[in-house]
């Protein structure tokens, strides 16, 4: 009798047939585009024909796979969990395997088949949590972004020269890394290979969790089968030579077929069960977008009234103005006349590199309309700088300002603008004719245009057709307002529960809207006129989608204006901006220069400092031997050779300098290591002094960098903990490499009480991270690791406790009196350190005021001064001309005051105090740094915002993670500065 195994995954359906002798006699692999029952039926019929079976023949069948689970349940067939099935197949086909790495459409798994210590057969499995997207779907998404197929991406990667750092947490994060690289002109082969390395890092960091991957490694699943370069990236990173076996795609199906089954089924019975399959569940659904055609007609008629004035470029003459909006996925160019009438425009996909398309546009324009003269030109969007440099435009402006210009022209009394583009959501409130409050999407929740596009693609539709499907869906799926990765699973679940494609389409449109309203804007009242505004303009390409527009109007219960050039507003606004500032003649390249235009891209690593920035050097040539360079990827002005016009007032730098001065002194008690992480960024002066005085040579781990992080990532047990905590593992490895005699990193429930809050806790992660290290960093077992619980908030008890513990650890007689003296010096050093920071802060404030500079409190935690954590955001702010001070340099000025939350963490009390401090200081604003995954900041951000709101200040939050590219951060900061200055 034949044994049939079906593996129904998130994107594909696989089958395997095993005969009585245990031989594989058939296997198949295809995408199912979420049409599971018809595909399964076809597959069974195919097997039936191939083996000349009749409906009455008996077979055994077993189903596996993430989408197979519900399916098997619905039709009452046996099910086996896919990882388990994999192991069954591996034990039979490749019994010598130690470790299996299997990547699927949306899952990533590692199976350890032999014991780490024993080498005997056992099973330890890891599966990605609900937040890890670095899998097949991720690779597909990235390929879409590059405008190539995944196969082409593999080919491209073969000729890579360098690897960029791409955040590997999830697709959305990686996207925001890749997009700017594309816009800066990085080479496709380099990006392709970098994407594969990101997947490897994601798998290793997320799944290995302290276990080394070694021995015979087997690669299974679609991505590892199809992409030779992905296998190579795994080989290189892990230092192994993995093996991708024959039938690597069918292992789960084979395992399912091999799973012991007692019950037999007739072929006819199976086919019948699948056809008659009724989902046992229903899904949550919302009201339809449109009740009927009539409602839709009224809707389209109303919106067709919102038109921009146009004029014929053939008959126009004289000066015109050019705006170019090089967005994340599209290129928009608009030409206007002196009255702001739209003469000519293009709107097209930019396939990742806008330069050739702008070139083509300009050439065509010059040739077609010799009657027009460009008087001024401005660029905006992600590609602003490269376009401005390449074509020598007159101006560059931040996109929020461009959008405001456009909306204002369109509707002078506009008080709220919502723009959903391919990659960003931007919203701003307008008060007194100026941008008043800005909301930008955080990197983790970009449910935007490219999000819909990716889904349309995955379901085999064009975005236009896909969106239209949803207009008349009867029961749109309620998908909530989560980020893309979660959305994938929600959609999967809805499909399982029987939702049809039209209802999914409508549901996705609604979720884009909810994401914008509840995650980005964080609308807080039921009344949209208060939460948003009375005159709302929506724009951005995504609003061309009628389903999204309708969903938005329905959700807020108000009609809004969508200009007919909704997708073009950035370019149009840039043109208006150029006009306002136009001089006699534009500097934009002429036709002749364009004919000989050349563009070369080179990737290099900057050797200017220890940051080792990965630079992309664009060289433009206009044919007359004149070369212009545009360098991107730099964090400072060193490689560009430009003189620094920014401020040098940076308290972050000062703090780093202070910390770097703590060097070890040879001592009689041996070398003791302190990892420079989390609270050590503030307590180093204390512990360093204390231990040095007691006779230890203190070795401080170096400032973090990428390499240091990667060296520790294998032992991180929780992939959702904040990045500053993950970094700790690298610091421990660095200290171990130093060969220290002991490592000192105490657990600290409490911090010092600064009198600003109701209590003085550390957050749980800061307080107890040493526990995670002792439990997970294996190499630590060989070194003395001191992670006792100490409370320096009670000096007297601390002295006793500390003496006791040190004697326990070192077996030498530390005397209490000696410790007391050292402790007292340690406190003195600590307070002196804090005082230095405050004094320097005050000095910078004075200086900034004299120089007329704006002052930004870059508020976060002490460890946010780590350059690997803040990614140079402090430098970015000073390069924009402002001074940077820290929250702890002003918080001491405040008395305890009442806040709207339980104020119980020392570091966080400072945030509230700093926010309150700037209330009556017009030249100060606060920017809050928030580490992704920081649960405490879910509370502090809302409270800090509330305090600032009540003072009429703008709140700016920057979420940081492993992300290394500052594109989005820059937009936010420039928007803030433009809002402050108007």
């Amino acid at each position: 009798m034949l044994n049939i195994g079906l593996d129904i995954g998130s994107t594909t359906i696989k089958s395997a047939v095993i005969n009585e002798d245990g031989e594989l006699v058939f296997d198949s692999y295809e995408r199912h585009f979420s049409e599971i029952p018809p595909k399964a039926t076809a597959l069974i019929k195919n097997i039936k024909n191939k083996f000349d079976l009749t409906d009455d023949d008996d077979v055994k069948i077993c189903i596996s796979g993430s989408a197979g689970m519900g399916f098997a349940e619905d039709i009452g067939f046996p099910f086996v969990q896919e990882v388990y099935a994999t192991r069954t197949a591996v034990l039979k086909n490749a019994p010598e395997t130690d470790t299996v790495i299997e990547l699927g459409g949306e899952d990533a798994k590692i199976l350890f088949l032999t014991g780490e210590e024993t080498g005997e057969k056992e099973l330890e499995v890891r599966m990605n949590g609900s937040c890890a997207g670095g899998t097949g779907a991720f690779i597909d998404q990235m390929a879409t972004l590059l405008g190539i197929t995944p196969d082409e991406m593999d080919n491209e990667a073969k000729s890579y020269e360098k690897i960029y750092v791409i955040a590997s947490r999830c697709g959305v994060f990686a996207k925001s890394d890749i997009q700017p690289l594309l816009n800066q002109g990085a080479r496709i082969p380099d990006i392709s290979a970098s994407i594969f390395y990101a997947v490897v890092n994601q798998t290793v960091a997320g799944l290995a969790q302290g276990r080394q991957i070694k021995g015979n490694v087997l690669y299974l699943g679609g991505p590892l089968t199809f992409h030779s370069q992905l296998r190579k990236a795994f080989d290189t990173t892990l230092g192994i030579k993995g093996f991708c076996p024959k039938n690597s795609l069918s292992y789960v199906a084979i395992g399912a077929a091999l799973a012991p089954q007692e019950k037999t089924y007739k072929i006819g019975e199976i086919l019948k069960a699948i056809t008659e399959r009724r989902s046992s569940r229903s899904y949550k659904f919302a009201e339809p977008l449109f009740a009927d055609e009539k409602e839709y007609k009224e809707f389209t008629e109303r919106h067709s009234l919102d038109k921009v004035e146009r004029a014929d470029p053939k008959t126009a003459d004289g000066n015109v103005y050019l705006g170019i909006d090089a967005g994340s996925t599209t290129l928009k160019c608009a030409v206007t006349d002196k009255d702001g009438k739209l003469l000519y425009y293009i709107y097209r996909s930019n396939s990742g590199n806008p330069v050739p398309y702008v070139l083509e546009f300009l050439k065509n324009f010059y040739k077609e309309y010799p009657n027009l003269k460009i008087a001024a030109a401005a660029a905006t969007g992600y590609g602003e700088e490269i376009i401005k440099n390449a074509f020598s435009l007159d101006f560059g402006l931040v996109e929020t300002v461009a959008h405001f210009y456009a909306a204002k022209h369109f509707k002078p009394d506009v008080d709220f603008i919502l723009d959903i583009g391919g990659q960003d959501i931007k919203c701003f409130k307008i008060a007194n004719g100026a941008i008043d409050n800005i909301f930008l999407n955080e990197a983790c929740s970009s449910g935007c245009g490219s999000f819909l596009q990716t889904f349309a693609g995955a379901l085999n539709y064009s975005i236009e057709d896909f969106a239209k499907l949803g207009l008349f869906a009867k029961a749109p799926v309620e998908l909530g307002s989560r980020c893309t990765v979660f959305m994938n699973s929600s959609v999967k679940q809805a499909q399982k529960d029987g939702a049809t494609i039209d209802n999914i389409s409508a549901g996705l449109s609604m979720s884009v809207v909810k994401n914008a309203l509840y995650k980005v804007i964080r609308a807080t009242t039921k009344d949209a006129t208060v939460a948003l505004g009375k005159h709302i303009v929506v724009q951005g390409g995504t609003f061309f989608n009628d389903a999204v527009l309708r969903a938005f109007e329905k959700e807020i219960g108000m009609n809004v204006v969508r200009p007919d050039i909704a997708g073009l507003m950035g370019a149009y606004g840039a043109a208006l901006y150029a006009q306002e500032r136009a001089g006699e003649k534009s500097t934009v390249l002429g036709l002749e220069e364009l004919e000989n235009f050349k563009h070369e891209v080179k990737a290099v690593t900057c050797k200017g400092c220890t940051n080792n920035c990965k630079l992309t050097i664009n060289t433009f040539e206009n044919g007359e031997g004149e070369k212009r360079r545009y360098i991107a990827g730099n964090r400072c002005d060193f490689p560009t050779g430009k003189k620094n016009e920014g401020s040098k007032l940076d308290l972050y730098e000062y703090k780093l300098k202070l910390l770097s001065e703590y060097k070890g002194v040879k001592g009689s008690k041996g070398r003791i290591g302190i990892p420079l992480v989390l609270n050590m960024y503030e307590l180093l002066p204390f512990w360093h002094t204390l231990l040095t005085e007691l006779g230890f040579e203190v070795v401080v781990s170096p400032f973090s960098n990428r390499k240091l992080y990667l060296e520790g990532q294998q032992s991180i047990p929780s992939d959702t903990v904040c990045f500053p905590a993950k970094l700790v593992h690298g610091h421990i490895e660095a200290l171990l490499k130093e060969g220290v005699d002991a490592i000192f990193y105490p657990c600290m429930t409490y911090n010092l009480d600064e009198g600003l809050g109701d209590n003085h806790y550390n957050c749980p992660v800061v307080a107890y991270y040493p526990e995670v290290l002792q439990a997970n960093v294996k190499s630590l077992a060989k070194t003395k690791f001191i992670y006792d619980y100490f409370g320096i908030h009670k000096p007297k008890e601390f002295c006793k406790k500390f003496t006791e513990k040190m004697n326990e650890h070192f077996g030498v007689g530390f005397r209490l009196s000696e410790v007391k003296k050292a402790v007292s010096d340690a406190y003195a050093e600590y307070f002196d350190h804090m005082k230095k920071v405050r004094e320097k802060g005050a000095e910078y404030v004075d200086k900034a005021r004299r120089e007329g500079r704006h002052i930004i409190i870059l508020a976060g935690r002490p460890y946010h001064v780590d350059p690997e954590i803040n990614h140079g955001i402090n430098k970015l702010i000073t390069s924009l001309g402002a001074a940077v001070i820290t929250e702890d340099s002003v918080s001491y000025e405040m008395e305890k005051f009442k806040v709207g939350v339980l104020n119980q963490w020392t570091y966080h009390s400072r945030l509230y105090a700093a926010a309150k401090y700037i209330a009556n200081k017009p030249d100060m604003d606060l920017v809050q740094l928030v580490s992704f995954g920081c649960g405490v900041d879910a509370i502090t951000t809302d409270e800090t915002r509330a305090i600032l709101d009540s003072e009429g200040k703008i709140y700016t939050q920057i979420k940081i993670d492993e992300i290394t590219n500052l594109g989005a951060v820059k937009i936010r900061l420039r928007s803030l500065f433009s809002a402050i200055s108007t």
Binding site: M69, G70, V80, Q81, E82, Y84, E122, V125, G129, S130, E478, G480, R482, C483, S489, Q493, Y518, K519, T524, T525, K526, P717, S718, T720, C747, T749, Y761, P764, V765, A767, Y768, Y769, E771, V772, A775, N776, Y787, D788, Y789, F790, G791, H793, K794, K796, E797, K801, V899, G900, V901, L902, Q904, W905, G933, G935, A938, I939, D942, I947, S950, G952
Partner: protein
Amino acid sequence: MKELKSHIIASRPFKDEMKKTYTILAPDMVHIHFCILKNIFLSYGYNLEILSNKGPAVAEEGLKYVHNDTCYPALLVIGQMIDALNSGKYDLERTAVLITQTGGGCRASNYIHLLKKALRKAGYENIPVISFNISGLEKESSLKLSLPMLVKFITALCYGDLLMLLKNQTEPYETKKGESDKVVSKWVKILSEQLKNGKGWMPAALEKNMKEIVKDFVAIERLIAPKIKVGIVGEIYVKYSSLANNDLEDFLKSQNCEINVPGIMGFISFKIDNRIEDIKLYGGSKIKKIVCKALLAILRRTETIMHKALDEYKGHYQKPATYAELKGMVKNVIGYGAKMGEGWLLTAEMIELVHSGYENIVCAQPFGCLPNHIVGKGMIRKIRTIYPKANIVPIDYDPGATRVNQENRIKLMLAVAAERLRSDDVIKETELHTSKEKSKETAEV
């Protein structure tokens, strides 16, 4: 200039005389326990209602009014309250809400503030918010607790633990479905009545009741068949609440499992013991230490009574470890200073489960739960090193995490468990025996 207003929310205080006319809405968590608690509230004249509204609207309301990165329990509890207020079932002029506050270094101490903020945003700023805490927080809006009341609450929780334990160990094997539930209902009624009348909490009464409870369960006819034994640990709300954990218990039962959910008294003892540990580690008031020790001693006495009741019918039920034993189990695993959230207790519960034959464990936590990075996910590796048989799967709960993903991961854990169930029944028996010996080591409490 835009109008500025203070963002500090002074919600309406709940005066004791208001209890006559107000309906107080409270969240559910451990169902059996809360049923008895509710009846005690009623006997003191509080018109308390435990919320049972479920459905998508609960999470939707939560997402609307609570910061989306806040822990899932806050989002659900608050969403559930707002959904209830929206329902039209309650006179909004005569309704208050009650929420617990633990007062540790975890985010959970802030739920009440998040609730107040959410109520204001949702237009319910007139609804009084009552804090249920024993840490002296939120003085103006705290529930006035008398000593007898507190004693009754604690007693109710003890009974709840016993009923839950017995039900979990009986139900999977009962020959007539529903017998265990019947016994539970019966005792919830009896105990509520007793406590209402000021009875049932003295040691003698406790002992008598507990023995009778065990007797009633023993009397249920059971068919012992091999089942996969699964323990559930985690962040306290997600661990117990079916609303939060997507009916985890029901799912496991449908997969041929016997479940073990460690009781709530361990958590209470832990919270009191923390104060003692704090003083040991960092110094502090001697009087406070003595008071806490006395409280712990009282709890230990009820614990002993429960164990005695279970011993009466030896061999029928797996006894839970005592608090002192639990504490002993983590001795060289994690420090007693790790007290935020569920702290070291969560680690201890995992180890206890492995010891007592529930080596398959679901560690349930809200997505991004801070203490769990340390005491849950952070300790799994170490537990596996010490107890290689431990088969633990951490599951994140979140409004966006789908059931299909969660169940798939649990099924993987179960597949491994099922295989062991088939292959090494014999080995396990002997191992269980030896490990039980080990578990006798206790820590000073």
